[in-house]
Point group: C2
Chain length 244, copies 2
Amino acid sequence: MTIELSARVTCTDCPIRHRAVCAYCTGDELDVLEQLKSYKTFKAGEPILWRADKLTYVGSLVHGVATLSKTLEDGRTQMVGLLLPSDFIGRPGRSEIEFDVVAVTDVTLCCFQIKPFEALIASTPHVAQRLVEMALDELDVAREWMLLLGRKTAREKIATFVQMLVQRQHIAGTDLPGQALSLPLTQEQIANYLGLTLETVSRQLGIMKKNGILRFSDRRHFEVIDFPALQLATGDDSDGGVLV
Amino acid sequence: MTIELSARVTCTDCPIRHRAVCAYCTGDELDVLEQLKSYKTFKAGEPILWRADKLTYVGSLVHGVATLSKTLEDGRTQMVGLLLPSDFIGRPGRSEIEFDVVAVTDVTLCCFQIKPFEALIASTPHVAQRLVEMALDELDVAREWMLLLGRKTAREKIATFVQMLVQRQHIAGTDLPGQALSLPLTQEQIANYLGLTLETVSRQLGIMKKNGILRFSDRRHFEVIDFPALQLATGDDSDGGVLV
DNA sequence: GGTCATGTTTGATCTAAATCAAGGAAAAAT
DNA sequence: ATTTTTCCTTGATTTAGATCAAACATGACC
């Protein structure tokens, strides 16, 4: 069930202001968005959008974590995206999506009705421009993941996944060994992201713990002890990727 | 080596006019494009863009087939896209790409220098709008492929691949059994697209021939004899997908 | 604080697809 | 026409990861 948040935050104070779809907007343009937006929240585990739903709104993830996934008839599922704050949900120009969006943690969304939003794109080049950029960035990430799914070993997949978490959470200037990072997914969800089974994920993470690459303080928090070894285990060349 | 084509085709007569990035352009807008465009051709096997290249132009594929692929240090490669006529190559707003683009057959590209093209996007909402649409369509295809790479069996992968070829080549109103379809890729290239080895591709295609699902007239041309069986073998639910 | 549900670990076994290894068949080149 | 190269097929063997099967943590909730 979704709840309309009463506590509105102004766009100027928004935590995702500089990375979201509104990144290039001027003060005037933000004023327009301000009038159109509304917040929705979802509890951990709740569906945000269902494959069969008609799309009536689009929005930016403000806090929390959500997943995009696709499922075959017999139940096999594959995650096709991990949504973190500032990521955009929705499909302007089309009323259907072909995957399910589910809240993993509690989630807050900054929403727009799809019709006014589409009008906004047409009239606000800054939004259209940012949207192209974000779509192309997502495309890069999807393609990087295709390489992972098609060609990497279980060990490389896990290492790449952990590296991506590091890159998206690491606070520059802070020592990496010692910095607590959060693991928002269960091992089953990780398996669905990496095209593996949960047993394989457990075993590979176990090996990385034993090898002194990772240390877990509890199920959902860990730190990277040996970053070079992690990097090496990804199978990528050392200049990093686009999963940031 | 690239060659500038002397035989210019006017945009209005262009075979990909209605599906390419210029799809929504008015006559006036086409006149502008007409001045900016130039054709480049590539021989089968030639690289069109290399991962390390600075991007100096973008363009639409007019005829031929090209592949996008990514390669790991040790040589494992994964195709991340198959470019057919009307597909767009390039990355407005960024000067680098993270994959290689190679001509599979002889290829003709309708090219624009990247700088004027970016200016065009800013000034021509119709181009920006179509570009968002095309990027999001590609994203859908990439995600469909993630499901294939992560969760489908070899047989399902081959069936899905063939089904995609059918959907992109089938002429509506023509009988499917009997219609000659072209297979532009070698089995090794198919393997790289599907995250398999060439031996597995050969064996699975062999089985589909023996089962009377496919018939090959030569290495590069086939027809689908039993479409329902093909559909069934994809593992998808029957309502089709986005790979069109 | 004990019960329960949800995640995680670990072991034994199986299997789909990879790998290794030749041949053969079609195109391309000379 | 004949050589060469590129593709394709087929068989034998191996293996990474799936599957099957229990226990074991951990935190959530009365």
